[in-house]
Symmetry: C2
Amino acid sequence: MEETTGLRERKKAATRLALHEAALRLATEHGLDRVTVEAIADAANVSRRTFSNYFSSKEEAVFHGDAVRLRRLLELVRRQPADAPAWDALSGAAERLAVEAYGNAPPSWLVHRRQLRGHPGLVAHQVAAYTAIERDLADDVAHRLTGPDGALRSRVLAATFLASLRVAIQHWIDHPDGPLLDILRTALTEAAGARPGTGAPATAG
Amino acid sequence: MEETTGLRERKKAATRLALHEAALRLATEHGLDRVTVEAIADAANVSRRTFSNYFSSKEEAVFHGDAVRLRRLLELVRRQPADAPAWDALSGAAERLAVEAYGNAPPSWLVHRRQLRGHPGLVAHQVAAYTAIERDLADDVAHRLTGPDGALRSRVLAATFLASLRVAIQHWIDHPDGPLLDILRTALTEAAGARPGTGAPATAG
DNA sequence: TCAGATCTTGCCCGTAGTGCAAGTTTTCCC
DNA sequence: GGGAAAACTTGCACTACGGGCAAGATCTGA
């Protein structure tokens, strides 16, 4: 827990956070496409040019929080027991994330997020953020797999896992009746056992 | 198979196709970010403004082919046997798509696609295109599910299925040793049975 | 304290996306 | 076949975005 960062680094973090929060607030207030980069920069007391030094687009600024949480997820996966099978490691890390990063999210956060739901440019960036770490995640779980086609199968695992996580969080934002953890478990169970849950496929013709 | 379309419609289709092909060709030749919308429009003999009437961005023009195939996939899913379980319907449709839409793709197509691999703006758009139909797909398979949490679970199914399909196609483009169908089956099997495939099926504690 | 590294800002340019209105092509119906 | 209506194309103008560049401000390390 060493927080011995220099002043410069702390200022940068503060600016990044200010831009992120300004972007989130303005986007939920007026709708993202009625908010200019300049307005976000103004709200964070920096120039338009400086905004570009931190984020490459409005969308990236809005989803900065998600990006942080996704990096945290990677960290959690790496810290799973060395002998845990791939899917167990992934779902274990996800459940941990659901508690530590979303467990005590203020209701206002949910309201904010629900405002942003459905905006085309935003969902595009959101899924892009998820798939951005797909390769890293696949690399991290590859060693937990046995059998042939490791590269392909670890990639499928990472992709389906991230898709499940994304859907679970989205569902929770839309229907916040109950903790995310319950929804996440349902989603991960469905993903892990698509076969038994839907009926026996048996080679499916 | 009625092709009784009017002249206007045929012209529009031709223009759309010309723009798509020009975008694909120029992007593979020079790299997408060194190609302007104006250049694509010129290559298709229309104005820059007309380009915007057909596609909202370069990326959309490049991925027009994928969008068409994804719509076709929806169609194939709807035509699956009414009593087929959800996952069977999805994988059945995917296997059909692999044959009919990718089965006789010329090698040059694979080369083109490999050129585009890894471009950040492109993968973002690609995954966005996939998730764009996620909701429709979920609605189409919801009635094939039994049990509680149908909305969530059908969404998870659609999302994980599309993720698997995307990964399979990507893997095939990167390693075209063998038909897509084989890779697809491996991917879908891994997705459907993530748990048993990865090692110990029983809680693995 | 001070030199070097790093960050911020304004300026500028090329590109993107879009409303609008005028001109062109296709359709539809008599 | 003719002519009005609908649909499409195009150029223009304007806003916004992203990023290179250089000058000034701020932080760091010795």
